[in-house]
């Protein structure tokens, strides 16, 4: 089945140790999004790609970076995780003839 896949589902890292979260999709959507979600709050958009065009939200910390090497894959890099970065990170896609955003299962990040 076509879907949005996130790996790993659970990630534990140490304070200040770089971490990379990955997202892949088989929907062939041209837009991919990264969200941060804390404690059942609304997802907060970090950035999104339209094809290879990168769109950063104004309030996304510089500590967060992203890469999209091809249509199928997108990565979220946290260069120096702090305790406040512990959250669920959600990847989503949209595009083609659909108006709908489709989400992956999320990666729960713990920072020790």
């Amino acid at each position: 089945d076509a879907m949005v896949i996130q790996n790993p589902r659970y990630q534990v890292t140490q304070f200040g140790k770089p971490v990379t979260l990955s997202c892949s999709q088989t929907l062939n959507h041209n837009v991919m999004y990264w969200y941060q979600q804390k404690s059942s709050q609304a997802p907060k958009l970090l950035f999104h790609y339209y094809d290879k065009d990168f769109n950063n939200e104004a309030d996304t910390p510089d500590n967060f970076q992203s890469r999209r090497p091809n249509t199928s894959f997108c990565f979220l890099d946290i260069r120096s995780p702090g305790l406040g970065d512990a959250a669920m990170y959600l990847c989503a896609t949209a595009g083609g003839s659909t108006d709908t955003q489709y989400f992956g299962p999320g990666t729960r990040l713990t920072v020790l």
Partner: protein
């Protein structure tokens, strides 16, 4: 600015009773409105959307939503609640131009269906 509001943090309903989860919106132009559900430690699952056409939209798992332009509302409904419907529900609105669409989410409503 485009936004949605979910006025209730939590809704409790008895199993078998009808449920309503409220959402109001503020948009310029025609709204593109969505409902998502989130189970613990999972991503958001799409339930239904309103783009144009009939004001009553039917979606997954027996859910439906009514678009009301005069009241700027898009309430989620189900005629008979199940315990398994207990989850976190988000209303969302799409904004932006083609290629730069963003989805703005409400604060979420936790639904508890009591057996």
């Amino acid at each position: 600015a485009q936004s949605v509001a979910q006025p209730e943090d939590q809704v409790n309903v008895a199993e078998g009773n009808p449920l309503t989860v409220k959402c109001t919106y503020s948009v310029s132009g025609n709204p593109y409105l969505f409902w998502y559900v989130q189970y613990p430690n999972r991503g958001l699952q799409f339930l239904l959307k309103y783009i144009t056409g009939d004001n009553l939209v039917k979606g997954s798992y027996g859910f439906e939503a009514e678009f009301n332009k005069s009241q700027t509302s898009f309430h989620l409904k189900k005629p008979s609640a199940l315990v398994s419907d207990s989850a976190l529900y988000f209303c969302a609105v799409r904004r932006g131009n083609s290629g730069t669409y963003k989805y703005i989410f409400g604060t979420g409503t936790r639904l508890k269906v009591l057996a």
